[in-house]
Amino acid sequence: MIEVEALTKRYGSTTAVDGLTFTARPGTVTGFLGPNGAGKSTTMRVVVGLERPTSGSTKVAGQRYADLPAPLHAVGVMLDARSVHPGRTAYKHLLAMAQTHGIGKARVREVIAQTGLESVATRRAGTFSLGMGQRLGIAGALLGDPATLILDEPVNGLDPDGVLWIRRLVRDLAAEGRTVLLSSHLMHELALCADRVVIIGRGRLLADATVHEIVARSERAGAVRVRTTDPEPLARELIATGAQVAPQEGGVLQVRGASVDDVGTVARRCGVTVLELSAESGTLEEAYLQLTGDAVEYRAAGTQGGAR
């Protein structure tokens, strides 16, 4: 269980996190989503006690992180890959972590096997690819068999095989009743493994809902797409029935306020040939982009002038 309550974190005049409140519950995978620079990593660093909140509070397992008697057993933490000394082998890195909590070598070997690092365990972490570094970070998070896991961008840099592995791993961990909070700036990653999604932009909460609820918020959700040889009479007729119509390229109309059945009936009535007719469903990606559209900190140069 992770509770973030009215968390604000400022660095000088910059506000990284602004009054953020959310809860990650046991048995669920909570996706923590936001554009780069939205405050995800800052929030996570505050939750694990590396930084102090300017105001507000965070709790893990009902306690302040700094008050946990055995942090490694309570919370598995994987922050960015640069949390490992590059000159140390994977095995020694994990062993030193384990020794702080009196965890034996057998458990170290176990997490090495579990994360598929056996063949590289005696290599120095500095020689690792991004993907192997992520696996090492996850191995460290699993070491204490914690009830809560905090993973910052775990999918970043993994090969497709590794991505599948992470999805299965976090699902299994949640199924065992653990709390999993994992951040990403890629919506579709979370769509496939998160139960709930907390979306932030510029440090503020934009949405805290299930994946389904967020998809339903997409502008496209509930609309009907119809392609016809003769869009104009159909559009007039549809508007007459009270629907809203947005004409698009290639003879396509996007219709709201009418079902697929309604649109088909109207099309037959005004005698146009229907080439394509379907109910549109929004994607999580679209919902996310719409939510964060105003909150993107950095834009590609080409779109800078057109920032909404």
Binding site: P71, L79, H85, K92, M97, Q99, R107, L142, L169
Partner: protein, 295 residues
């Protein structure tokens, strides 16, 4: 790559001992961390080799002098080899911060300062081993020159045991000074430069300044002091109480005259001054770790 999921059986096995960090555990972890890097071993090897080589060359060079005393050459190798423990300490102190490994360390031990204490002890222990080896290397370096003049080197006579002990502790003290500079500056290069300036450059400059200041400008005062140590000067005081000057004081036999313008300080006094500097820097680091974010 093979993929397995958590098995409830192993989860329970780990759950059997769910206690947190203790100081002994932190010592074990920090020892693993220090000794699992390559740099401490490299630095230690080079330090011992340089100590032996310089001592050997220095003793050989002065063995032709009529008044050659092998004992005087004993600590000559450390003049250059002292860079070794400094580098060792700086790398151990700044390494965590330079690489970001401190994030892992401090999430495991949110109280933070026990980690600093454990690291300090581990660096001291490693440096103690290095100090013993470097001192042995210095003794071995003197032997050929002593043998060539048929002067027996009695390690138990006079001030020799005290100097040997002081040489060993000198290595420990410099490693801790490097470590303290490393943890407070958090970056390798600034910490290294500071350490070298403080330990190598500053004492030379202060010695020269001290000699200039204590030159008998007033003949009357010169005659009144006679052969005794000259008046104590500001550069002399600074030298004695600077970390570098204090460190050098450690390896100078107690019976030797102090540098011009400096108060007479025993090796023990030098060691205490150096230890004081290390404690002040570590205390400042401890306070900062307690009260500030680590990013």
């Amino acid at each position: 790559m093979s993929v397995t999921s958590t098995t409830p059986g192993t989860a329970r096995a780990a759950a059997a001992t769910r206690s947190g960090p203790t100081f002994v555990r932190l010592l074990a972890a920090e020892w693993t961390k220090l000794t699992s890097l390559r740099s401490p071993w490299w630095v230690a090897g080079v330090t011992v080799a340089v100590a032996a080589a310089i001592t050997y060359l220095s003793a050989q060079a002065s063995s032709g002098d009529p008044g050659f005393q092998p004992f005087d050459s004993l600590s000559s190798g450390l003049v250059l080899a002292q860079v070794g423990p400094l580098v060792l300490g700086v790398l151990a102190g700044a390494g965590e911060y330079r690489t970001g490994a401190f994030r892992t360390t401090f999430t495991l031990v949110p109280r933070r300062w026990p980690v600093l204490a454990a690291q300090t002890l581990v660096v001291a222990a490693f440096a103690l081993g290095l100090g013993v080896l470097a001192t042995v290397a210095c003794v071995l370096g003197v032997l050929p020159a002593a043998a060539s003049r048929d002067i027996p080197l009695d390690l138990t006579a006079g001030e020799t045991p005290a100097v040997l002990l002081a040489m060993t502790l000198f290595v420990v003290g410099l490693a801790l000074l490097g470590f303290a500079l490393g943890v407070i500056l958090r970056r390798t290069v600034p910490a290294m430069v500071t350490a070298l300036v403080v330990v190598l450059l500053l004492p030379v400059m202060l010695t020269l300044a001290g000699e200039m200041a204590s030159e008998p400008a007033d003949p009357a005062s010169f005659s009144s002091t006679g052969e005794g140590p000259g008046p104590i000067t500001v550069p002399g005081m600074l030298l004695t109480f600077s970390p570098g000057g204090a460190a050098q004081e450690m390896t100078v036999p107690a019976s030797y005259q102090p540098v011009a313008g400096s108060p007479d300080m025993s090796p023990l006094g030098g060691g205490l001054v150096l230890g004081g500097w290390v404690l002040v820097l570590l205390a400042a680091t401890g306070v900062r770790l307690r009260t500030r974010d680590v990013r």
